[in-house]
């Protein structure tokens, strides 16, 4: 079995799972309880928070545990919009964001907010000039993904943060879900106010995630209830989830040293795919190394995905969060690909320890399957 769908989700690391089960079993008390058992668990949660803060070089009070990337993105975007709507109602994002960002922005539009969707060029990147031109006095939020989940294009986050330093009323939220553990960001950059990280994309567990929020930045919470997490994110904490996430993040940053070898796998993929007729590479040359998006022209991607699946190879069409829809990818459309190509896209996404053999097998099987199907279709 060769799993090449790591941008959809990853296999939890064994040591992460061990941390989770140990805490869930041995430290089960409610961290908000004032008795000794509760205090011990509370200490584990706050230790996890400190570890994460120190990994990123930020303050522990800037770390908020959530149920995952979608909640973090919603908390950041809704949170800024509703807390700052008296100062302005303009939000800037891009056309290629994840559905959890686009869906939230579209909802805010229905409620009267104005949203600018920055275009991207054929390499899937926004332009800093477009951003500067879109900025207004009423702009309260800019929300951009660091790495695109379908094609792997990398946005110039640091440059955007530099621009936004000059706009104190505009908050900057970065969806770092696909970038963390592959390409680092300047986490303590004063132009970045909020950042989303997800556990299950970095060999952590589903249902774990973070919102990093700079101190002094006000957001309106999504939920109300107990006093947990400064009342910004109430609900009994998931201490086992928190400990496992801190561990997954530490391991992901260690694994980042393998990024160059994933880069060479990416080059192998590109070189060999180019030799197959009718294949078009959709990921830009400077995309993140672990994601490669390509189209096999005239082929329905589902057919190929099932054919590969029969041989135990897992790849995907686009984002799992929108893979049920038979519509062309909004990301590829935004990059200017025509619909025939976009409908046929396949995404290969690797983890940081992917082997050369996996990639070789994938390429061999893909080649055979394309040939077989072509023969069948005459």
């Amino acid at each position: 079995m060769i799993y090449l769908d790591n941008s959809a989700t990853t296999k939890p690391d064994e040591s992460v799972v061990r941390s989770y089960t140990k805490v869930a079993t041995d430290f089960f008390a409610n961290p908000s309880s004032i008795h000794i058992a509760g205090g011990e668990v509370e200490k584990l949660v706050s230790e996890s928070r400190k570890q994460i803060a120190s990994l990123l070089g930020i303050h522990e009070k800037e770390v908020f545990f959530t149920s995952g990337g979608t909640e973090s993105n919603n908390m950041a975007i809704q949170g800024i919009a509703y807390a700052h709507q008296k100062r302005g109602n303009h939000i800037i994002t891009s056309a290629i964001e994840h559905p959890s960002v686009l869906g939230t922005c579209q909802q805010l539009e229905r409620e009267g907010f104005q949203v600018t969707y920055l275009p991207v060029n054929e390499t899937g990147k926004i332009s800093i000039d477009d951003l500067k031109n879109a900025m207004r006095e009423e702009t309260i939020l800019v929300t951009l993904m660091h790495v695109n989940n379908e094609i792997g294009s990398i946005q110039p986050i640091e440059q955007v943060a530099d621009v936004l330093k000059e706009w104190p009323a505009a908050h900057f939220h970065v969806d770092h879900v696909q970038g963390f553990g592959k390409v680092s960001l300047p986490y303590s950059h004063e132009g970045i106010d909020l950042m989303t990280i997800s556990g299950h994309k970095i060999h952590g567990l589903k249902g774990t995630g973070l919102l990093l929020k700079r101190r002094g930045v006000t957001v309106k919470p999504l939920f109300y209830g107990g006093g947990q997490q400064d009342t910004l994110r109430p609900g009994t904490e998931n201490p086992a989830g928190a400990v496992s996430l801190a561990k997954a993040m530490r391991l992901a940053l260690e694994q980042q040293r393998n990024y160059p070898s994933v880069g060479s796998l990416n080059r192998t993929l590109r070189d060999r795919l180019k030799e197959i007729p009718n294949i078009q590479i959709n990921s830009p040359d400077d995309a993140i190394a672990n994601i490669l998006n390509f189209s096999v022209l005239k082929f329905k991607p589902e057919v190929l995905i099932h054919a590969l699946g029969e041989e135990g190879i897992m790849v995907s069409t686009k984002s799992a969060c929108s893979s049920k829809q038979n519509e062309p990818s909004h990301v590829l459309l935004a990059c200017g690909f025509d619909t025939n190509d976009t409908a046929a896209a396949i995404r290969v996404s690797m983890h940081m320890n992917q082997s050369k053999e996996d990639i070789d097998t994938f390429l061999t099987v893909l080649y055979e399957k394309i040939k077989n199907i072509e023969e069948l279709m005459g």
Partner: protein, 385 residues
């Protein structure tokens, strides 16, 4: 030191079989259920099975279960979801003064947004009356939210009768069943509710997972936007490990519910008998009828609760003065205030003992003896004359 945990209403440990199930499922749950390849399909199957189990446990349809990150989120989704989707029919909401903060605080937020919320009082036993709900109902009432069993006192609320009364009214009816679910067999049709919240970590399942039951006819305003998960009622990649553990916890609960109730009944009788035997001066908060036996909320006249809790803690006994979610502070309980008023001593001298499936009679005996010992130290003349 011997340690006795009597705070099961705050949270419960993972059942060993739940842990086992989660460990075994790890390989199977690692696909993303939204992925179309076989890994995704395996996760999807587990997700569907869990949804069926959850639905079956409350006599509901498969499509009526929305998995959430826990009961706080489920309550918030119910409250904001109804208020924002039905505001055009009216802006009046009814709840009670004894709800969990995950209901009270969203209600206060709605008040800021222009909704009018009636917080119904309760009687001295901690129960809201059907008549009080009837009197508070107005043509513009759109929502009623009343918990099934109170988390501090264990007192059961007359949800069936209130639901019956609301059948002829436009108001949508929600019950926070977090404490009740682990004790009594609930059926959404018998309860006459449209929405019902449940948490996994109160029934020996993992933390970070819960569900909201939603009657298929009820429209909610979506609160978390994104992918198409949970039929768009709650976006975000599903917490598969949590869901698999939750499912097992539900299965065990269904199998053992009656035995558990008998066990709690025996423990609470033993506890009360122990207090009587040692001539400890106490008052039960609540009343015997409509009371769930896993929770005993007891007032010890003359003690100062913070000092008492610390002493119990040092003796190895973990209990609480109220809900854990008041996080660290020992503010007087809003539930006891609603029952006895602001000035009654009971709001300053009451402790909640809550029992679980692992609690033994020996632990109860140990606890009662330590209570007596501590009271003798703190209040040398405390015993009943």
């Amino acid at each position: 030191m011997k340690r006795v945990y009597l705070d099961y209403a705050a949270t419960t440990p993972l059942h060993p079989e739940v842990k086992q199930e989660m460990m075994e499922a790890l390989e199977g749950t690692y696909g993303n259920p939204s992925s179309i390849h076989s890994f995704g399909r395996e996760s999807r199957k587990l997700l569907d099975e869990a949804r069926s189990e959850a639905a079956r446990s409350i006599g509901a349809d498969f499509s009526s279960i929305i998995f959430t990150s826990g009961a706080t989120e489920a309550n918030n989704l119910a409250i904001f979801g109804v208020a924002r989707a039905h505001a055009h029919k009216g802006k009046h909401i009814i709840t009670t003064q004894i709800e969990h903060h995950a209901v009270l605080h969203p209600m206060e937020e709605l008040e800021k947004e222009g909704f009018e919320v009636t917080f119904l009082p309760v009687d001295e036993s901690g129960v809201v009356s059907v008549e009080a709900v009837e009197e508070a109902l107005r043509p513009d009432t759109i929502f009623v939210s009343i918990m099934r069993v109170n988390n501090e006192t264990g007192m059961q609320q007359p949800i069936e009768a209130i639901g019956e009364r609301l059948k002829e009214h436009q108001a949508i009816f929600h019950t926070d069943a977090v404490q009740a679910y682990g004790l009594e067999k609930l059926d959404v049709t018998a309860l006459n509710v449209d929405l019902l919240s449940v948490s996994s970590h109160k029934i020996y399942g993992p933390k970070g997972i819960g569900f909201l039951y939603r009657n298929d006819d009820i429209h909610l305003a979506q609160q978390i936007f994104g992918g198409e998960q949970e039929r768009k009622w709650r976006s975000g990649t599903e917490n598969m490990l949590g869901i698999v553990g939750f499912k097992k916890a539900i299965e065990l609960l269904e199998k053992e519910r009656e035995d558990r109730m008998t066990h709690y009944q025996r423990l609470s009788e033993k506890f009360i008998a122990g207090l009587n035997e040692l001539s400890i001066d106490y008052h039960m908060n609540g009343k015997k009828e409509e009371h769930m036996p896993n929770i005993l909320n007891i007032s010890f006249p003359g003690v100062e609760v913070e000092m008492f809790l610390t002493n119990l803690d040092l003796e190895g006994i973990a209990v609480s003065s109220g809900s854990a979610c008041t996080a660290g502070s020992i503010d007087p309980s809003h539930v006891l205030k609603a029952m006895y008023g602001e000035k009654n001593d009971r709001i300053y001298n009451s402790i909640r003992f809550s029992f679980g499936i692992e609690t033994s009679e020996e632990e109860i005996q140990f606890c009662v003896e330590r209570i007596s010992k501590i009271l003798n130290r703190l209040l040398p003349n405390h015993t009943r004359g």
